[in-house]
Symmetry: C2
Subunit: 409 residues, 2 copies
Amino acid sequence: MSPQRRSGLGTNQEAIRRHNLGTLLRHVHGAGQISRAELTTLMGLNRSTIAGLVGELESLGISERATAPEGARQGAGRPSAGVRIAQDGPYVIAVDLGVDRAVVARVGLGGQVLQRAQAPVSSDGEAWQVGAAVAALIRAVVEDVPGSSSLVGIGISVPGLVRRSDGLVRLAPNLEWHDVSFGGIVLAALGLDIPVSIANDADLGALAEHTRGAGVGVDDLIYVSGNVGVGAGVIAGGHRLEGAGGYAGEVGHLRFNPDGRPCHCGNQGCWETEVGAHAIAEAIQCPAAKVAQLDEVLDGFDQASPELRATGTALGQGLASIVNSFNPQLVVLGGYFRSLYRLVSTEVNAGLADRALPAPLESVTLALPGLGADSALLGAAEIALEPLFVDPVAALGTALDDVQARLAG
Amino acid sequence: MSPQRRSGLGTNQEAIRRHNLGTLLRHVHGAGQISRAELTTLMGLNRSTIAGLVGELESLGISERATAPEGARQGAGRPSAGVRIAQDGPYVIAVDLGVDRAVVARVGLGGQVLQRAQAPVSSDGEAWQVGAAVAALIRAVVEDVPGSSSLVGIGISVPGLVRRSDGLVRLAPNLEWHDVSFGGIVLAALGLDIPVSIANDADLGALAEHTRGAGVGVDDLIYVSGNVGVGAGVIAGGHRLEGAGGYAGEVGHLRFNPDGRPCHCGNQGCWETEVGAHAIAEAIQCPAAKVAQLDEVLDGFDQASPELRATGTALGQGLASIVNSFNPQLVVLGGYFRSLYRLVSTEVNAGLADRALPAPLESVTLALPGLGADSALLGAAEIALEPLFVDPVAALGTALDDVQARLAG
């Protein structure tokens, strides 16, 4: 068909085919490995259309044949033809930037962490210094990448408020950043021109836990991230709650104790001043220098002091406001709350039960992240992979191969 | 075509046609009057398909021809053919149940209130007594209905937590209702069997303000309802935020002043104890017997006392938690907050600015409801009309004509 004739119905059909190809890839990505029969059912397309799409994904180097889905060989029947993510297929770089350390990973489809590196970052460093440190970690994680694999994009998680429209970091209070274009800084440090997506850490934690963590199949969930600051990522009705500018979920600044500690936001007694890392550290008399290892310190305790139990109560009482406001089915406790919750789950649940209304309380469950400490990291991978699910052909068209050589040059 | 042959493609085409018919009706409903040319653009269908759908709506008695949309006769050009809601077309009954009074209206497509009635209700009455009072109001508003008009359903707004799955009123604290099936009670009192939808008043206020009030075209808005209790209805990304059970938006119980007044929920110092009707009444020394007319009392003031200004500050400070949590573009202040805001807008805005984070603060606007005191009432009409937009043919098939005679019988 000549280019001139690819218009009208032809273009529509091509758009639908690419859309179907992306949707099929999203299913393979979610499941890791899946049978053609399952794809036929999930997508409502006939077997020959599915076969054609699967063949195209294979020829693009994205997927490969699998004899049978994992766990499907239980009976004596013939194994059904399956699809799985290809070895050496396209990948993304995921960056989880914390207040005191950066974690960078090369992540493939299916959420596989293929290589990872991390380094401390100084919270009083300039954004360009942090960008240079992140760029060095990126160079490290692509060291062993095969030349045939191509980089689709970079996803970055930051502990701050990110403007949805352009990814500008409006405020990362504990890094003391205001209006920082961190994505551009990282690209400049790498000398690459490639799609970069950036979002709030709690929003990405929620996304990843919903996609492949504790919240798979749960349409209303909240990921509460307890680090130096406290924030929430909200999935409502199966979709990310972003708000008008992308800033929804700043629950760390819920009014909690009007006579309480001063907060960096200028107010007193915000919830994060009562349950954030500094409050936890104070409760266990952890020296300031060790706040960055607060989870390890907490993991060393086998019982909670009265002060730590009070922190647990405050955590539960604040969660009650979240449960009353959002009526989630699941609240995932991330960051330092993972270690804290193991010690004071009784107090957290009591604080929640004490202050939540009975109707939203009865249907909510508190849980630890299914992805451990990697929720935000894998959420960053998800937003970087997203273009592949919209149009795999177009996304691969702009992806970079031989990244290692380009970075060396 | 014989019934046997209405399968496969035929049934699909029929489903698509009915879907298109409902979508076209939704556009006419939203605009009140609209030209065929606009419908062609909005729906992406060709002129003859639109003409066919418009003809079908006319033959169903739902719409009628209009020579030109209002305001379109500015130039000397030929008036374009238009569509408007038919006189004597289908209608719904909308019920806005408050703690102290019920308002009932007969509402047509386009959100037209065709007839209304209201009566006080006793907050210590049993649910069946309130149901009987509402049924009497319903009988009153259908008195003049033409026999050819048919009743599609009943929509009810209640000041409480409503379970989404079945409309059970789990809790209406200020009516002292627990697990009341109020929709069923009203139908029993009427002796009718007809679809009844029931939802929280603030959720319905948000829906109506989004559809035809202050928030038309605003995808992220919050309607905060200030009555005896305080609650919020949230539109996020263009859709109602319902939560897992339908209870999202219970912001009246945000922790505000841990040493404050006792709240009916069992806690102390919830936000609604500082800004709800009783707090406002106390600030203006309004006797308890007149709390039901609090808006009229407030409208009689031309300046605010220091106590009322403090209530305004508390309103703004609590709104800051809502703005930080949901990042709305618009906050609509309903219920008694309408009258309060006129007196203390400076304090409300200062309280908000004092405690909201700069990024979500800079894009939010506070507004009064575009629908005055009728937001929840018209939201109740919207949920009752909804089946008409899903499938007008099916909804009219189950609608009741000659309602007046049925109710008399």
